[in-house]
Subunit: 248 residues, 5 copies
């Protein structure tokens, strides 16, 4: 699968903005609650992709197209309200994603959940359809649910990567445990499938840039970052610094 | 999505009458148990839409068409008898709604319920179909189930609005917690998706009109009101007063 | 929906015989265990419809057609053996019913059950298909399951009627709580949808005829009666008396 | 439905051999573990049908066809390992059965199980398809699961028969409780649907032949027998004696 | 079903490498984490088949084709994270397998699991499709779940084999309990369906080769071996010794 549309010199920096559905607007303030603010950051900061749910991709489609930032549509999602075993179901078809101008699609699988099997199977149908339509597919693989409590983060991180390879994802998005050696092993476990790291909750700049460096040195191709950019006082400045680490 | 058929100068006042399925006839008396009584209120009061389930839309179709009030068909529903986690499934297709002359369709999602995923997914299929047929879709987003007990109403109200935007609804119907500042934030969280407020249980006139004013000032486009109108001694008088607040 | 095929002067008297699946043969004796005995009662007694499951409708189709009694096929059913929340699934398609010569179809919904949503949704698909094929649909609405224990029978009876209207049934079959005033309210709650009353377990003749009179006076269009007729020593005599009350 | 292909003078003797899936090979020895041994008994003993799962019907198809014994394919099955409420799902389509040369098809329903509804519904789809293809359908009706514990075997036997009639089976296979009077009532409850009795675990010859006589006198059309024949030292001798009782 | 493409003189030696999904990369080291390392072992060692999930079959398709080792795609899979009753769902279609150049397909069924019925049914759909496309199907039959705890391994091994025959697999893959007499009985229970044995966790060479000899003497056609080969210091040497036992 050709990843040129969503990478630059083989590296990726995606601006993630699916938190509205996943966490609710508690992550937002008066500025970043507005998708147009996010689109502007992506455009000026020249991200290699921007991640939206279907609703925003539709209602702000004109603005997205005008920005020329490659659109990555998250095809499934859920709120964080339900407290049982996590399940996230398909909320947008590949066909709709194509019509909306998506350059790639994404899907989350909670491995270890009671509903792992349903998400794995739904993912596979989407993967097949996406490849038929020549779209790269990115899989968020997050170990979750009662069964994974207390398990080693090192092993879970590598397991997540390997799952992405085995099920045919083009890019795997995982959470980083902060140990560069572990990450190298995880990236190796992903074989020919590429790895990007989730930015996670907001950190101080120094810590963030150190992590970006570790990520790039591990063999991962980049980050899907959200709160660390659009919650920043000056999102374009931090973007610039991150890009410097990634592309030099 | 063009909302002209169910709004007037960008504002909306819908007469809701899906309580027969949702609560049973305990909400009704000898007068308002009759759908024709409701249709008459909507016609004379010039509501911008009337909300029925499929059964009433079929059996009273001639009367509805004659009234020229735009018909909004609720596509899912349930009784209030079952005491477990709430689930409400599709009971009418978009195709049937079109045949019955609907100007828009509606669907309820109980976020936080054990069955949230099923409703989100069913909604998306309906949304796609409705937009293909050029029908606006209104989503009732209600946080419900064991997992949401004790959560902040302020945050739930904003979360409900945001979910509506993320999943591609044209209008979101939510319950108002009574705090105008919170409502403004919720409306902002909905971005380009419009917000209408549920009327809820009957209040005294003064309180109701105060709330209508807060609603309109918040940026919401109007109300979907039921019991406060058709349980009133003089429904057309209260309607007149509400309209005055909305349209001036 | 035109109900002429299964009514006479707007009134209905259906002979119900789906107890074999619902209760087992404990309701039967050597005479009435035989479907031909039932068909004969219906024919000689000139019932306006006879209610069978698919199996009997097929195996005794020649006899049914010869009798010229309008056939009403119950499309779902279950045994009474399982002790959990009740669910009754579709066991015969509308297309099969048409081929078997049905004049109408029936379906049972247990409102309040954990599986209410599945039955409501299955009903709607059947309703749509039945109307497309010009067949009236009768819905048995029975409140059941742990959630309805201890609820007021008066309210449940009216709720059952209202559900029938809201979901688009042509006729609702309910159980009568024995209070004529409550029944009037229930019938009123059904709006344009017609109401028939289930005969229930065998009563003495006097009590039965008193109930028939109350039923007719309430605005209901008639009864779906089984055990009170075919368990009677002289089924045609009691039929004659019932008809006298209904049609005068 | 014409039953001539699997009966002789209106009577039936089926050789059942679906125990490999249902119980595992513990029922077998070095001789009868081999399907060819069973086919030979059926051929020489001139059974009116032989019951196999799809796997054996495929792998031994040449031998089955050569034997000219009518093939009855069991369309569903399960192991006896899982200890919860029983469910047995379709494992072979009617279309496959036709291609394999089946003269009839079979299906098991565990009435009273938590999954009764799923099996009833799956049966109906199969029944419709089988009749469209002109194949008789035999239903194994076995009351099972926590809900039937302690219930009267007499009533369950009659209920099983009645279910077979109500859902449209051509032949019902039940287990015999050993009381001839109860069996007569059960057969009567089946109406026009024919009844065959399961042979069950191995008995001494005298007891077995006494039961065969009771079965035939009850109005049932015969037996589906397995272990009592192919576990016997001399299967053809016992077969001969059984046939003598059935056909005289 | 012709097995020539994945056997040599009627015997089979498959290199299994689906552990990445089933166990995570904990089974791997820096060398064998790379699918190309495995492909090389298979090519030089002349295995009669190599077992991959869809993801690896796609991303390493060129290398696999170049190696000319027959590709066997495992069509279902799961992680080992979830701790409840095991279920493994289809993650690749037969059609995709054909496009990827598969010579056969595989599927795992956990008999005794709460979800046994779902896997049996999914298997059957795959079996039908595979045979239509002329592909042999291998079934992994593993007794698992709470219900099988404490059961005799001898009986479970034979039961697993018999299930494979009854459901129409061409080859059954089982785990060996280490008792040659038990294995002979298990192989006999499989009838015309062939048996291969899973290699399991790494053993010392002597023990392994003794088991291979027992396996071949039992009538099984070979092994599907993974860790005992690719975790070995010198995989080609152990392969050579295994092949010597199998083919002499």
């Amino acid at each position: 699968m050709n990843l040129n549309k969503i990478t630059k010199k083989g590296k990726a920096l995606f601006l993630a903005y699916d938190q509205g559905l996943e966490h609710g607007p508690t992550d937002f303030n008066n500025r970043n609650v507005d998708p147009n603010y996010i689109i502007k950051i992506a455009r000026v900061g020249k991200f290699t992709g921007i991640v939206f749910q279907k609703g925003i991709s539709e209602k702000y489609n004109k603005e997205i197209k005008k920005s020329k930032i490659p659109l990555i549509i998250k095809l499934n999602g859920k709120t964080n309200l339900f407290k049982g075993e996590p399940i996230s179901k398909q909320l947008c078809t590949v066909e709709e994603a194509v019509k909306l101008g998506a350059a790639a699609v994404g899907y989350t699988i909670y491995i270890g959940s009671n509903y792992e099997d349903e998400m794995l199977q739904e993912f596979e149908n989407i993967q097949r359809e996406a490849h038929r339509k020549n779209l790269p597919i990115i899989v968020w693989v997050y170990p979750r649910g009662k069964s994974v409590l207390g398990k080693s983060k090192k092993e879970l991180m590598a397991y997540a990567c390997r799952v992405g390879l085995e099920i045919g994802a083009d890019i795997i998005k995982i959470q980083y445990n902060g140990n560069p050696k572990n990450l190298k092993w995880a990236v190796k476990s992903a074989g020919k499938t590429k790895v990007v790291i989730a930015g996670g909750i907001k950190k101080n700049e120094k810590e963030l840039l150190k992590q970006v460096e570790e990520i790039i040195n591990s063999g991962a191709i980049g980050l899907a970052i959200g709160r660390n950019v659009w919650q920043a006082e000056k999102p374009l400045e931090i973007t610039k610094k991150i890009k410097k680490v990634i592309w030099g």
